[in-house]
Symmetry: C2
Subunit: 427 residues, 2 copies
């Protein structure tokens, strides 16, 4: 029995490893088109910033590790250019053909620059891959650009802005829509805009890039799309989100073919609808389920609450579930509160934390939240995410038994203060 995996990042390697754990006899080969295997692409902005000294620091495991420890063959520099499902073969760029019994597609995502005139100029970069980050680093060292323009105010755009600001550049972010972080939320946008201004980063909203701006350096942090061409040509169905459609067991419409990671869509646990939200954590979980199922187990991945987090110039921004506007669009009778409260007593240097919570007025069900502050953001957004995953109501959330001691929190955690305000709107 032979398992072939296309792609050797979070999803692909999690899939291969999960399959191996279940079936020691499986023949497993992972094809990776780049020379780089198993590295944390999320660390690339910190390489540009200078905090990560060498890209090797981002490598989690080597191909040798997979061969030796997990009996998994990882073939770098091996691009799969076609899938012939009737023959159960993948075709490599070298013309070679490799047979499979089970196939897992983890082709990821990429910037689609085809509609952006000027994107092929030498001062235009993405920051999504090892190679792109390496080129950008060299460009910064050799050309010493003074101004940078970043297209896109998603989390990568914000991380890139901080990295380049730290490197001493004058930075402007251009965002096509009126919102940041892919969330229709005027409050959040205002908060982030004010913070960026304090950090001397310019943010231009409603500023669609019809072409590459005139600048010393341009970073493309928008136009991110699932990499579906290879799969689509093989007859794998694409969902409404534009990503590959999969079941909770990561099955595609082709028998014995699975998809996972940034190329595939998943289920949004709040809206109950398919969503495309490429993130390394989700990719790993999807990959694990795909690998387990390819190896004969029955394992489901129920979906995501849509949690994301970003730090920009000292401010942490955590988001989960739906914003009020997104929830209304999904048909909920959404209502929100926003509170600001100190995270600890003054004598433990408490700092303000902003909490936004959204619920459905009819059922009280919690629908989403945002937490913004200098610290304590990840823990609090994770509590909201956990509550969303178990479909908690505001009344249930309000009585959560959250840890309290002066070095850690106030008696009433900002989350509980927010929930209490929200509960009042529901009565």
């Amino acid at each position: 029995m032979r398992l072939v995996v296309i792609g050797a990042e979070a999803a692909g390697l999690s899939a291969a490893s999960a399959a191996r754990r279940l079936d020691p006899s499986l023949d497993i080969t992972v094809f990776e088109k780049t020379p780089h295997v198993s590295y944390g692409a999320c660390g690339l902005p910190y390489f540009i910033e200078g905090r990560v000294r060498s890209l090797d620091e981002l490598t989690v495991y080597s191909a040798e590790y997979f061969a030796r420890e997990r009996n998994i063959t990882v073939r770098a520099n091996s691009e799969v250019v076609a899938i012939s499902h009737p023959r159960r073969e993948v075709i490599l760029s070298t013309g070679g053909r490799e047979r499979y019994d089970k196939l897992i597609v983890t082709t990821g995502a990429r910037r689609d620059l085809s509609a952006l005139p000027g994107a092929d100029q030498p001062h235009v970069f993405t920051m999504d891959t090892w190679a792109a980050a390496e080129r950008l680093k060299q460009f910064l060292a050799s050309r010493r650009p003074r101004r940078a323009d970043i297209l896109g105010a998603g989390y990568l755009g914000l991380e890139a802005a901080e990295a380049l600001r730290t490197q001493g550049l004058e930075v402007t972010i251009h965002q096509k829509t009126g919102d940041v972080l892919r969330r229709r939320d005027p409050w959040l946008t205002r908060l982030v805009a004010d913070h960026l201004e304090r950090c001397r980063i310019r943010l231009l909203l409603d500023s669609p890039a019809v072409s590459v701006p005139d600048s010393d350096l341009v970073i493309i942090a928008c136009l991110y799309r699932p990499n579906t061409l290879l799969a689509a040509e093989a007859g794998i169905e694409i969902g409404r989100t534009g990503a590959l459609r999969v079941t909770p067991r990561m099955e595609t419409n082709l028998h014995s073919v699975y998809a996972a990671g940034d190329c595939a869509e998943t289920n949004h646990l709040v809206s109950g609808k398919p969503v495309w939200m490429p993130l390394g954590t989700t990719a790993g979980k999807m990959g694990r389920a795909a690998g387990a199922n390819a190896a004969g187990a029955r394992q489901s991945f129920p979906g995501i609450t849509g949690t994301s987090i970003v730090r920009v110039c000292g401010l942490g921004i955590g988001l989960t579930g739906l914003s009020e506007q997104q929830a209304k669009k999904e048909g909920f009778d959404a209502v929100s509160v926003r509170i600001e409260a100190r995270d600890r007593p003054r004598y433990f240097q408490g700092v303000p934390v902003s909490v936004q919570l959204t619920a459905d007025r009819r059922t009280g069900r919690l629908l989403g939240g945002a937490v913004i502050g200098e610290r304590g953001v990840a823990g609090r957004i994770n509590v909201i995410s956990t509550a969303l995953a178990s479909r908690m109501t505001t009344a249930e959330f309000e009585t959560l038994d959250l840890a309290y001691a002066p070095p850690f929190s106030n008696v009433w955690d900002p989350l509980l203060i927010g929930a209490r305000q929200l509960a009042k709107l529901l009565h």
Copy 2:
């Protein structure tokens, strides 16, 4: 309609405030036997340590604030010595009688030193009240003790140990049982014991204090009991935990009489049994429900997962739910894992975090957890607490959508690594 509340700390003042919000016309009087109203007793160890300069910093609101802003009369220095329920009266130490229609008992807890010979000596202190902390502070300044012995390795004992160590004393903690932090858990005890040793605090386990040790200074941080005498004499029922028995609406067995806070028991959401676990956060929530119900609403407090947290010499220790031994005692087929993982990538100065998770082998239901580390403890223990409150299984917990970005976490959060290990034991 007149509401009388006995006690002006977290439970009593939350009760009075909740009643006021629901009924602007209610006549509300709170009797407090001490001169001190609405202060955070949890801050007392930090007053001893020196971080809190003056006890006034711990006061949340003054009696004047309650009178002016909430139309609530708070009478300090007014001890209720008896409740005459047939007459609907409370009797004060002055002999005065005060009528009530509804009564809320929040008499708190105290150290029961009756069985400890020598506890009345001038070098023996508790650290639970404003007055006790004030006396201790004066003793430290005037007598300059060099050695301190602390009875009890609960969270107050550990906080007191750090406070006195910071003040330069040689500290020994005597713990009656073989466990710390009121949790039967050899792993936790070992971990805390090792840490205390590194901080040069002596911990003596299985060391019951039959009398007060010979020392320069002794702190009693054990023998904490619910203050039920007044209520019991009035005919209010006491539960198996030794604290006042209440319904989820905080009703006692006497009509129109409620109890809340450290004097009352509550429901443990994991064991489903009554539990006495006095904590300010729980007291506030119980008080709120009591006040709302006394004012004519219907509000339940479902109970606690038993979350606690303490920091000692830089180490955070968070606990929630049941330990493996506690769970077995409750009839679960409990199984546990313990993992240690870095909380962030190395380039973001990741530090190790220990996670312990316990589940029921038959159902997979999560039963409890512990998180120990230099940081990120509160957020993680709160995620476990939230999962316990919604009766999550290990499989559900394992797919939680937790926030990931390098400044905040690793791709696989230590919680998810633990859950994954635990899931393997359940299959």
